[in-house]
Amino acid sequence: MTFKPNKGANFLGGPKTEISDDQIKHMINELGTVINNQGELLKKFGSKLSEVMFKMSKMDEQLQMQRVAIRIQTDRFNVAMKTIISLGIIDSDIMNICAGLTENKTLPITSDGKINSFVSLSRYNTSEDMPRPEGAT
């Protein structure tokens, strides 16, 4: 997965470039603790992302980055957050969100894109002596 800024646009005022998977992984590694604790953040502030994106769209010189971030967001919200934060596009809203990252919650989607969850089985009005499938809690 590679995100390519539109042709001709500057990337954070620098040379024309693109964000590769490796770069995203690097950003994720650098963010470490913040990333590992943003489960609760996402639950609380997930709906705010569009607001944040809107504010960012007002930043002319970072417009291209915003576009890239939106493309990432459509893939995986948490990756978008990591990318936004790691690239230094942090406005006061995001700073506040980061400050709230204290609870150690599990991310629904891990940094490598896998889903962090487990399956549980409930039986209704059914004989309890039935064998339970291996793997269901």
Binding site: G39, T74, T106, L107, P108, I115, V119, S122, Y124, M130
Partner: protein
């Protein structure tokens, strides 16, 4: 809820009755918006708030020799949630009369209902409120109700009827059209004969989708479920409507002799109900198919994600629900909302991608065995799609 008056006679849907100009009709805000979108506000002479009549609003009163008009704008599943209360009324109050209103598409599902005297479609003729002794509607009972996050849907509707605390058989109740039963029976028999399969082979229904992708089983998981069931020597029936053709095509089971394409022969809900009454069991997401199967006490495995299965399935006999424990859930997203963790291309949410097809089928087999259904000797899956089950 609004009271509307049309400027001219109009049929708001090809499956609904004609609304007469100048007469007041009751309509939900959502359905009113659909009318505005599909036609124009110009067809409306007036839109007024619907003022509740406390004396006529039903809340568990004695209905002996009385009439009740009850309606719901929601889908077939929602209508199923209402049905235990209709049975209770008819079994408890002699000479009670029930007028039942629903969306035009869903009237077919309620056409042969044993406890409905008059079936009507929304918008509801306001004169009916005057004509009947009582009325009952359920606006926002699930959509805008925090109680719906902890209380089973059947309890919500029972309470709305004013029957809280009463012992009511909560299994849903639906009627079968004899014509559609024969049609579906013939179609299934023809399929089995053509595929050289025994007529008593277990047929497991598979709900193709929920009303929204946020509650639907992702395609690769449907494929795996089909594959595993076929490996066990059972037939899979793909259940849905003709609109689900695109999903069925993605499954790649067009030429699979162990897959019956029920959705192709489903003109309306009468076909779905008749077919589901004939199959051995059903696997499905939170959709009408699951609730229809419950009406016929079929073994059911519900596959849930955004909210816990107990909120819908808790009263069903011989039924199991798979839920997903995930940090972002339960989110209770139900309709048009987008999951923050959805897949970029399919929009399927992360939770529904967490299910395990092997466990789902294993549980269905457990349920079927508990009903003494005999299984054929496992046979190789048909040629074609073979998913990686690792």
């Amino acid at each position: 809820m609004k009271l509307i008056i049309f400027k001219k006679d109009i049929q708001v849907d090809s499956d609904s009755a004609v609304c007469q100009k100048g007469k007041p009709y009751i309509i939900s805000d959502g359905f009113l918006q659909q009318i505005k979108d599909n036609f124009s506000e110009d067809i409306l002479e007036g839109i007024h708030p619907f003022v509740e009549n406390k004396d006529k609003k039903y809340n568990g009163q004695d209905l002996t020799n009385k009439s009740l008009v009850v309606w719901r704008t929601g889908g077939m599943g929602d209508l199923c949630f209402i049905t235990p209360n209709l049975r209770h009324i008819k079994e408890t109050y002699k000479n009670s009369k029930i007028y039942f209103g629903c969306g035009p598409r869903f009237k077919y599902g309620m056409m042969n209902h044993p406890y409905i005297d008059n079936l009507i479609t929304i918008p509801i003729d306001y004169e009916l409120i005057d004509k009947c002794d009582y009325y009952l509607m359920f606006e926002g009972i699930i959509e805008n109700n925090d109680q719906a996050k902890t209380m089973n849907a059947y309890d919500l509707f029972q309470n709305a009827f004013g029957f809280s605390g009463k012992f009511i058989n909560k299994n849903p109740c639906l009627g079968i059209s004899p014509h559609h039963e024969k049609k579906q029976n013939d179609l299934l028999r023809d399929f089995l004969k053509k595929s050289n399969l025994p007529l008593n082979i277990p047929v497991v229904g598979l709900g193709l989708k929920a009303s929204h992708i946020i509650r639907s089983i992702p395609i690769p998981y449907l494929q795996k479920i089909i594959y595993i069931i076929n490996r066990l020597g059972c037939v899979v029936s793909l259940i849905g409507s003709k609109d689900d053709k695109d999903i069925a095509q993605l499954l790649g089971s067009k030429d699979n002799p162990l897959v019956f394409h029920q959705y192709k022969n489903s003109e309306d809900y009468r076909d779905a109900i008749a077919h589901i009454s004939l199959i051995s069991g059903l696997i499905g997401p939170d959709s009408s198919a699951v609730h229809i199967a419950a009406a016929f006490d079929k073994p059911i495995v519900g596959v849930y994600g955004p909210f816990p299965s107990k909120l819908r399935l808790a009263y069903y006999k011989n039924c199991s629900g798979f839920d997903i424990n995930i940090a972002c859930g339960p989110c209770f997203l139900h309709g048009i909302e987008t999951c923050e963790y959805s897949d970029v291309s399919s929009k399927e949410p992360a939770c529904m991608h967490s299910h395990n097809p092997e466990l789902i089928v294993s549980e269905m087999i457990n349920l079927l065995k508990s009903t003494n259904i005999e299984f054929p000797i496992a046979q190789p899956a048909p040629m074609g799609y073979q998913p990686n089950l690792s």
